[in-house]
Symmetry: C2
Subunit: 191 residues, 2 copies
């Protein structure tokens, strides 16, 4: 009987190995060969699933971004506690620190590739949409009225994510929570 190969799983294993390496040593120092070794595969297996390095970098970004989104969504309660959901998405363990580091190095790398810049824009826009919905819900206003508050909230979340993944000791969860709560207090509620 021929071996049944789960291609999606194999792609996912390679993407995850790429995300680990990118977070550890940066994109420039990550090679297709190292990605293969980390995933327990040959370099040929990597090039079978990914056309080139940009392609695997993109897959690593999508994996990290999806992982952040999943933690955020899983922590959403009814009614939503937005501070807790954002805290669940922020860097507070090895996986989430990895995901935020992939995001950061990806954003820099995207300045050197038009197609990766397109993905950077799409992912950023998607988070801004989510934030706009959250703020509109929180403040009881329209999406249009929520836009600038949402940009402010995204800025604060991104800054916490960057700082807490670079310097976790200076950004324990309590400090993250305090700043998020302050930000929501400033956004305020429409009566």
């Amino acid at each position: 009987m021929p071996k049944i190969v789960d291609h999606d799983e194999r792609r996912a294993t390679i993407s995850s190995a790429a995300a680990d390496l990118i977070a550890e040593v940066g994109i420039e120092a990550t090679t297709m060969k190292q990605i293969g070794a980390r995933a327990g595969r040959t370099t040929g297996a990597v090039t079978h699933y990914f056309a080139d390095k940009d392609d695997v970098v993109l897959a690593a970004l999508l994996l990290a971004d999806g992982s952040i989104q999943r933690r955020f969504t899983a922590a959403l309660t009814t009614p939503p506690n937005l501070v807790e959901a954002l805290l669940a998405a922020l860097p507070n363990d090895a996986e989430s620190r990895r995901d935020w580091r992939v995001w950061r190095v990806f954003s820099d790398y995207a300045t050197r590739s038009e197609s990766l810049l397109m993905q950077y824009r799409a992912s950023s826009a998607s988070w801004l949409d989510t934030a706009t919905e959250m703020v509109a819900y929180h403040a009881g206003c329209s999406a249009d009225e929520a836009r600038l508050d949402a940009e402010m909230l995204v800025a604060v979340v991104d800054a916490i994510g960057d700082e807490a993944s670079v310097d976790p000791d200076s950004w324990p969860p309590e400090r993250q929570r305090e700043l998020l709560e302050h930000c929501f207090a400033k956004i305020g509620r429409v009566a």
Copy 2:
């Protein structure tokens, strides 16, 4: 007559070449040899002034950070218009985009070096102090009362700096100004 060598100037020229390269190709891909070539010097000249790559990366960060601070300070008027001063510090031309890109790649690189992480902390703390003074002035309150608003302001400035250096087309000066003004409006003034 012996040639008079201006060592400070030579160090500065090499640091500036390093900052340019780091912004263009990333830290990992930047070599001592390339830095020398870019500065119009030999690799030996680079290693004469800088012990190793971390040392020249640090010099590039200090140069970029100093350059951001200088634009901010130069734009401060009496009485200070804080939005205009911050806009002058944010990425709006080739030099300021370079400076913010150096900051971003430095922050990631700092996760792999204890001494660079110390400098990252010191530089971040210094900007937070500046922001705290600004907010205390703007809101007419004490530094203690200004702390969380200052953290929020720093977060917004950092996020704009990141986004506008990665994707300048999406972050023209008008959009930067609108978000900064919104943030100051939310911080509010103590009567």
